[in-house]
Symmetry: D2
Subunit: 326 residues, 4 copies
């Protein structure tokens, strides 16, 4: 009954099999391994982007901040929503890697709207050199609240950014759960993320940034091997579909039990409110998940929202045991 994070579950066994297979003989280090060439070819094929430059790192934060620092200048401000991982959960890594750029928070219940994005950009009228200059727009897909931008919604946000000449960055830690994926760690890998530059003009700069950020792996083949098997035989889609299906099963059960949803679940995360006494009972029985807007101290009948995340590996029996308790 573990719903704390998609980071808590095991890697898909196919990942381990691939690592074992990669562990023979000698391989050139620092990204010059043969598997990496295959990863590049595969991602170019998936995205129909024959010129794209592709790089692997081991953490999602590294992928975000290396990409953002390549897209921005230290005197700019980046546009993101308040709950964005880059704002809430990276301990100022974006400010560190960009050399001191700022974040401007776009109002968003969960998904950013074009109107709110435009208002935030307009609010940063640049006033010559006095205020920060406008920098990239960063969107998270799947959002931090488990909702999913449609292709049209993403395109509309992109149109706003383009109208101001600003680049877009997509934090796709859970992107597969929507459509396609950059991030592997949260979706059944051990630790690997791909950064994709559809325009390779900045690729060389990224390489220097990755190295000086201490994120270039000497034994790079073990990153490549994970990403390669992840993109082979649709493992990425199979993992994501499994996680989404589990979350749908859990959401149905929660709904039947009278839980209230603050965001409509669309992927593998559920934000549902239950009475405090119910949470207490579930925790006592061994369920693992995070309360989102309060603690166990307080009135028994008051409702508290909790976040439930399903990873690819969670068993139906675990979900059903949890729902039975509920």
């Amino acid at each position: 009954m573990h719903f704390a994070s998609d980071n808590s579950g095991p890697a898909n066994p196919e990942i381990l099999t691939a690592l074992n297979a990669a562990n023979t003989g000698y391989a050139m280090g620092y990204g010059a391994d043969e598997e990496m060439a295959k990863v590049t070819a595969r991602i170019r094929e998936i995205f129909e982007a024959p010129e794209a430059a592709i790089y692997l790192v081991a953490t999602g934060t590294a992928a975000n901040v290396l990409a953002l620092s390549t897209l921005s200048q230290p005197w700019q401000t980046l546009f993101c929503s308040a709950p964005a991982h880059i704002n809430m959960d990276e301990c100022n890594a974006p400010e560190f890697y960009t050399g001191g750029a700022k974040l401007t928070l776009v109002t968003a219940a969960d998904k950013m709207t074009p109107a709110n994005l435009r208002a935030a950009i307009e609010g940063e009228e640049t006033r010559g050199v006095h205020g920060p200059q406008r920098g990239p727009v960063s969107i998270t897909q799947v959002t931090e609240f488990g909702t999913v931008y449609t292709v049209d919604e993403l395109a509309a946000l992109g149109d706003v950014a383009t109208s101001y000449g600003l680049p877009m960055h997509l934090d796709g830690a859970r992107f597969t759960n929507a459509l396609v994926s950059f991030g592997g760690t949260k979706n059944g890998c051990m630790g690997v993320e791909a950064v994709i530059f559809f325009d390779p003009a900045k690729a060389q700069e990224f390489e220097y940034r990755r190295k000086r950020g201490a994120h270039l792996f000497s034994k790079h083949r073990y990153l490549s091997a994970q990403m390669l098997v992840y993109l082979t035989d649709d493992l990425w889609l199979r993992n994501a579909r499994a996680a989404n299906a589990k979350a749908a099963r859990l959401a149905t059960g929660l709904r039947n039990a009278g839980a209230h949803f603050s965001h409509e679940p669309q992927a593998n995360m559920i934000f549902a409110a239950l009475p405090r006494a119910t949470h207490q009972r579930l925790f006592d029985a061994g369920a693992v998940y995070h309360l989102w807007d309060g603690t166990l101290d307080g009135a028994a009948e008051e409702e508290l929202t909790a976040r439930f995340v399903c990873d690819w590996s969670i068993g139906d029996d675990q979900i059903d045991a949890f729902l039975a308790l509920l």
Copy 2:
């Protein structure tokens, strides 16, 4: 016949076995996994340091620069030798992580002497606020030229640093090959390094620095599992002894063939000079290693130094085949 780097070989199969074993069920992320508690206990035991704080990262550069930034201030200069990895091979990562500290190069043929270290420190007379202030001393063990500081030599360098009130940093990427180890990546792991604070006063700061450097792993158990098995049943010592023994076999053969050694081999790296024509012949036959002070263009009889590195996995048959060719 692969002697390019100890980063090129495979991980010891025991590492893979441990990763497989760790890959079941749920585990708390970000260093709160159960294996990490065991790693901490084991390292404290090995170093007889019951208060030590221990952290894992995935690259040697990350271990170096996170540690150095915790020990220094941006207005200081760090003392190291010119061939030090932090000077030559980290693309300014130390300058980035320290917020702009400087490196002062200590004269050293391979090992730093107390007299040369003292001279470098004296050379940085601080002149009030105008020059950089004196910062930590960084020593590499095994040195970049394959030589090993004795315990007495390290103590003497430590005495110099202490006499100026400066902290010491030990870059132990190949430390096991000398005595004990911090670094696992170059010694048969897939990618894991331990940073050990014997005085835990700075441990909290290190945690913030690791996170904002994007080096805190969500699925941390896979780092822990590597380090744990590495420190169990002396795998670290077995790997290092194997690599050193292979290098000794290779060095003997090279010596018998008339090679000249610019540094006396003491661990798993050999710097040996051979005629250019010999290098050409060896490369043509499939040997893999790096020339150190020149290229294949030039007089056939001129001697060029090359670096040969033996990893734990290199077969005696490979060494003998190489020596037979030679």
Copy 3:
């Protein structure tokens, strides 16, 4: 009829007289001049702080960001109001000098309340290493909207900060216009600001930061001379009282003419709304000031707020000419 900024007017002639007097013979550079010793003594006397360390720089932004970087760590967030100069008008200088700290915006109409400050601090629950840690609270006195914190209000904000163990920073660019002064540039000097550390523990660090920020003046005597005469014979108070008196005269006239005030004027800045057609007429007649919430394009009868700033030197005849036009 120039009300654009207190940066636009001339320096008080007494400042020039002092510079002329200081311009004889030789003086030690970099803050070791004799005038600086007198500045230190005078500020310690005014603030009844015999241990205080005092430093001079030439710009208000330098004073702010050097002080804030000394009080904070790169992994922290600073609390300030949205219109704070450090948020709006310093082109990310705080992020640059702190090495990448973040700003958390405290809700404030003009003055920050203890409740809003507390809410902002609580909102930055630190969640281990994931979010930024809580850092200093920065207050601007006089506020960017020309209102003045009472001593009791400042004390109440200080109590909130202290209850969380956070240091306080006071941006006193217009502090004299309230009570006492740090900043000289906006109050009749040519360019000089004092940074005062009531606790000298961080003074040495500040010196390194000032130097590496390129803000230590070699011919420092010209900063000292300005600050010394500024603090002699109450020039600071005379300048501030003059500016406040001029602003009161202007405010009375504006009120009589039917202007609406979005903030009650308490120092030398006035935010007053007039119909667009009136602004157009005043600009056409040569008045100089900034519109705050709109442009001249639009309905003639719509009211737009403008900012009017009086410096120490503005003549009553200029104010009366402006009011006559109005």
Copy 4:
């Protein structure tokens, strides 16, 4: 008898007269003052560079590090001589402003030679992403040892830089003492330096950097006024010629008294060796200058080199009094 630094003397009275003249009425801030337009026109005329972008700052370190950060990337290394001000005397300001670039020291007795510069550049073979990339070459004119590059020597160094595609930076703190000037502070101004971009492509970036470095003056007219009078009626040349003539008088006297010169004096700085007992006697009589390679503790007859700097204002009577003592 004050020969400590060209920073110790007074500003030329013409500078004060210009400041007084500028101190009337209102002027736009932040570089939009009318005097600045005249400064730009005058510098473009002097350098026959009608497209040049010109900026003023108040310290030489600010001029150096803002310019260098605009010319380089954080993953590059800058080439300069060991005694260069940016290496010795700026407390890591270049590392701070560039975001962590490194300095590579070019061997130089006083002036850099093309061969030594080329050797230093070649030594930074880039080895892919591992080492720092090659960045700008920084030359100091007049050198820190008072010698002067000829136009041909500068052109030859420029040719080396160009052959590697590297930009050149000229630290001209004492440039007038050679030929023309950027720096005013050491040459009779109160505190002003000009940064000149002959190619304005980077000018916009410089403006952001100056602002976020806290080096944009609100009351900018007082910088402009200094620079304007400095460039009018050859004040810059008159000051420099005066300082050079004084130094020549002093050097002749020193030579006649048997002093030994470690560098042949070519501008306003002299490095001359005298017996320790002589230094003691001169200091006792009130002379002020810096010993360069030792202290007063030691054998009376041993020779110690001292640095003597003449500023524009030193009186012949002071020099003659000093020589009489000698």
